[in-house]
């Protein structure tokens, strides 16, 4: 009888301490994130104007806007999306719906998981060796988009596979029992049900691609271009690389230009992610099991 109350008191104490410690960790994380975002908004927002968004950089990047930089980023991400989405989603469908469960597919899955962990500069060097040099695409939008495709592919494949696996087997069975082929069951029933997850994963992957600097640095992003890219073989300007240039390569850049560029990049990625999250929650409410 004398031991128990002491134990209970200790347990309560540990409970209270752990609650505070875990809570403090969350506060630290959120605080850091808010501080970073706050700094970008506070320092970047004053620099944002229509003129900044729609004019070319001037005076050796120390004046003017970032129009070609925004356009280059959009073109790069769009081209990457065109390449990675069909490939990644199809591969995800194969792995989730058709692939037998054996040693080979286990190895394939493991390789895909490992691909996601490869540092992005390694992808950059791979892109330089294969797409720029070996395939003679030169430093270009195409070479960079292909490099970013390799980088994003594991995210798209994995999220597609996960999303498809969440769809109950019952639905596939029902479709097959109605005389549908596997593909018809997938295309008409399983894919629509998995769409929210696939879209979220794809956007996540593409957001990451949009913010990558190392892979594009060596495969096609330009320091400065007087004209917009006019084909997939053109070089281009891009937000993350431009930011790197402003921050480290050009002396005496007005801070509102540097921070304004950062603000545009972060805002663009966040807006797209938020739209995707909102769309997904609408879909979730509609589809329940």
């Amino acid at each position: 009888m004398s031991v128990r109350p002491t134990r209970a008191r200790r347990a309560r104490l540990v409970e209270a301490i752990m609650k505070v410690v875990t809570g403090a960790c969350v506060a630290l994380v959120i605080g850091t994130a808010l501080f970073v975002l706050g700094k970008i908004v506070a320092a970047g927002l004053p620099g944002i104007s229509l003129d900044f968004l729609f004019s070319k950089p001037g005076m050796g990047m120390r004046a003017g806007g970032i129009f070609p930089v925004i356009v280059g980023t959009l073109m790069l991400v769009a081209l990457t999306a065109v390449l990675v989405l069909p490939l990644g989603i199809m591969a995800g469908i194969y792995l989730a719906e058709y692939a037998p469960r054996n040693l080979l597919t286990r190895i394939v899955r493991l390789s895909i998981a490992n691909m996601a962990g490869v540092p992005s500069i390694v992808y950059g060097l791979f892109g330089l060796a294969v797409f720029v040099l070996l395939m003679h695409f030169g430093k270009s939008l195409l070479a960079s988009a292909l490099t970013l495709t390799c980088l994003t592919l594991p995210v798209v494949i994995t999220s597609t596979e996960e999303a498809l696996r969440q769809v109950p087997t019952d639905l596939r069975q029902a479709a097959l029992a109605l005389g549908a082929t596997r593909w018809r069951a997938i295309y008409k029933v399983v894919l629509p049900a998995a769409a929210p997850g696939i879209v979220t994963g794809s956007i996540l992957g593409l957001s990451r691609a949009a913010g990558e600097t190392a892979p594009i640095l060596v495969t096609g992003a330009a320091f400065f271009l007087p004209t917009l890219p006019n084909s997939v073989f053109s070089q281009y300007m891009s937000l993350p690389y431009h930011l790197y240039v402003l921050a480290t390569q050009v002396p005496n850049v007005p801070p509102e230009i540097t921070w304004g560029t950062a603000f545009v990049l972060v805002a663009g990625v966040s807006v797209v992610s938020m739209i995707a999250a909102a769309w997904r929650s609408v879909q979730r409410r509609k589809v329940k099991w």
Binding site: P168, L171, Q173, A174, L176, A177, G179, K188, K286, V287
Partner: protein, 288 residues
Amino acid sequence: MVMSAVLEEVAMEAPFSGTGRSRTYAEGAEEISGSFSLTDVSVAYGNETVIAGVDMLVPSRAVTALIGPSGCGKSTLLRCFNRMNDEIGNVRVGGTITLDGLDIYQKSIDPVDLRMRVGQVFQRPNPFPMSIYDNVAFGPRTQGIRKREELDAIIEDALRDAALWEEVQNHLKKHAFELSGGQQQRLCIARALATRPEVLLMDEPASALDPISTQQIEDTIAELKDRVTIVIVTHNMQQAARISDQTAFMLRESMDQPAHLVEVGDTKRMFTNPNDKRTESYITGRFG
């Protein structure tokens, strides 16, 4: 020995007293279709034989109930009728199953075609995440029917047959998930009927439903059996007695040996005067 005696008995006792069979004869012989014949059917998962030596006839336009304790392979046997076992890896089906004389496991048979003739309703309601209309239209569209008026007519017929039309006729565009569990299951029945199957397989279709919904499903089955052969798996003996014309009792006596068919025959006879002691013990609730 027991098996062949049972088979003979089925042959002698059918047609069942006052059920669909005699009526369909009256409508014309060529309309009789949707009868299965099973000869020495076995099922193996990998190296383990789980069902062996099943011989039985499934008469056209009647309800056949498969009963037996949990794990006796009723559902597995049911999935042999539309080759849904093909979709699970590592399953082998032995023996012969014919649908109106056609061996459904021969090479030239595409399971996709077979499943348009042999529909299935599952244990848990599994409507597709789409509108009521699109759910029922799935089968006909798979068959290539695109014309709006034609689809409308098929969908109305199917929903009427499943006793759901009155409730949903003004809400066909509604999402299927807004329906109650019982309504969802009747929607699944309508969806299966919309492909105009000759046989409808039902795997414990009411086990996830409340008593009133169960009653509605049973009424639907009674309505349907004039037009379609029904094979129903049920663990509910009263249900088997109420709705079926023929009952097949399956049993797996130990985990070392495969399940087999103990007895098959006219439902009334089987529930009042079973031939086998084990059948009697099971239906009187002594085990299972």
